[in-house]
Homo-oligomer: 334 residues x 2
């Protein structure tokens, strides 16, 4: 009797996911059709005008042109964490501990109200990546920062409240739990096998091709073997690199191309689905300690709701195999 | 300058959450108002008639009465995992590994189309808990089972697809990742402090009272110090107990009362919000190995969307302090 599903193990974290082959869907069944449109008029959009306190601003030529700006970094009006000149202190509350919400929360806004990364040119996307890197360096310079999280919410179901395309950066005074798990998994693999686990994945996926979605000279785009959600996508530099912020301008052009193509294929293939993407990179601390790590972007479309089983066990159920998703996305012409 | 938030550390897992005091909301702001109603007619409901292959069925008197049934356990029509007489085999796929999706997936259905646990009597809720325990024992008896997950999805945003109240049980051939983390945290605490961390939490919360929502002789209901979502609730037996399934009938009556009151307060206080609840209990294996654990229910209302930061870091942001949520729920009369 054939089993209705597979339990696949993530090679880095050791986590399990269910790939429900028995009730597998075809790629077209994931097309977003019935969603209420996410539209907000330009004239009331808070991101239409150049912010009065920009942290950084560039024109399309990559120069600091305020009167013809194309991308800006600004403070988040409602920060989750904020800087206060002193590092977070540990407080005791009986048996518990907590620290002050020290950190920073910034927003990266591109000029066009209706044009997300998926619709940009490579050059435009590259400028966004460059701003990510420059703000990363600025936030890393604060000695209280332990980790810098860069992420993007696209669509209402992904948690976006403003339709105008924007990414966010949060400087955090601790190593976040999921980042810590990814780092520990990577470190354990390195210790046991004397190899970067991500480099092995890259080598294997380039050879095996089943889950390969796209590649250029320096980057590859894959559907991960143990995908947590349908149409999950990862973007890796081919050459071992722990630190995103250290990527040079040549690498940046290929990174922008890979990320843009990945998002464009997803958007065209599934009719502009809601998604999140985020960066996983080595923490800002001592370089050598995290030499085993390999930075990458993860793109997570909102194709399903995490229900009681997923929340209670941490086992996600995906109803399409990553090989099927990759084949579908590979063939999407953009 | 006062910080805009706190980072609180979970005493069991070590994970961090952000409690955003700077943009804190009042409890009434979480009232569900504008949601599309989740209504399905009785005459097409798949759970109205007694299933033809019940695994277990009881009348309201707790006897096996099919012609006047009140609760049944049935196989899930679309199982995520299914039994096949042999345990899961480990397969290699290049550098990766996977196992067959061996296990079981059952549904516990109560008779009334519109009456969830929050609206039941204590006696009715107790029968549901009894069925949880009896099916737990049945699934634990299979030597391939490593963990039995019991959970409930209420409302469309929680992942429910059928409005008729039902819980689910999935027998899993591995220790799930989140359960493993909870167990490891609990074991590490026990090793270091020679005490059950959950017992210390219970003792502290009963004394401190800020996060206490409800208690009876044998159970307490609290808002956890490091709540991952607004209005998160936990239901603990007061006396140390690793294994849910071993609770006796006296304990079961108090457990049913505590779970029902918790859900009733949440439903009345926030106008019937969508929520998930799930059981965390010791795995089915060797009893002694998990003596440090303390079983409990976790209730997680769908009060926010997990966006790129939460998915990328594992740090959830809650915009109401658990003390405020607990005070609000404590005062709700049911």
């Amino acid at each position: 009797m054939k089993s209705v599903s597979e339990l696949r193990q993530d090679i880095v974290s050791g986590d399990w996911v269910v790939i429900a082959t028995g009730r597998a869907k075809r790629p077209r069944e994931f097309l977003h059709r019935s969603r209420a449109p996410f539209i907000q008029p330009k004239n009331t959009c808070p991101f239409e005008k150049l912010h009065k306190n920009t942290l950084l601003v560039y024109g399309k030529d990559g120069k600091n042109i305020k009167n013809n700006w194309w991308v800006e970094a600004i403070p988040n009006k409602y920060p989750a964490l904020a800087m206060h000149g002193v590092c977070a202190l540990y407080h005791k509350a009986g048996i518990y501990q907590w620290i002050d919400g020290i950190g920073a929360h910034e927003v990266i806004v591109t000029r066009d109200h209706d044009r997300s990364l998926a619709l940009m040119s490579d050059e435009e996307a590259e400028l966004v990546i460059r701003v990510f890197q420059e703000r990363y360096f600025a936030l890393k310079a604060d000695s209280c920062t332990e980790y810098v999280s860069i992420f993007h919410n696209h669509g209402r179901q992904s948690g976006a409240t403003i339709v105008h395309p924007h990414s966010q950066i949060i400087a955090v005074p601790v190593i976040p739990p999921d980042v810590g798990r990814s780092l520990r998994g990577s470190a354990a693999y390195f210790h046991e096998h004397k190899a970067c686990v991500h480099c092995l994945v890259i080598e294997y996926e380039l050879k095996q091709k089943d889950r390969l979605i796209y590649e250029n000279d320096y980057f590859l785009v894959i559907a991960p073997f143990a995908s947590k959600t349908a149409f999950e996508i990862r973007v890796f530099p081919k050459v071992h690199a722990p630190h995103f912020e250290e990527m040079d301008s040549a690498g940046r052009a290929f990174c922008a191309n890979a990320l843009r193509v990945a998002l464009a294929k997803l958007s065209k293939g599934l009719n502009n689905p809601d998604y999140n993407f985020f960066l996983h990179t080595a923490p800002v601390g001592d370089d050598k300690e995290f030499n085993h790590y390999h930075w990458h972007f993860e793109i997570v479309p909102k194709t399903a709701i995490w229900a009681g089983f997923e929340i209670g066990t941490g086992i996600e159920i995906s109803v399409i195999a990553p090989e099927t998703a990759a084949e579908f996305l590979r063939k999407i012409k953009i």
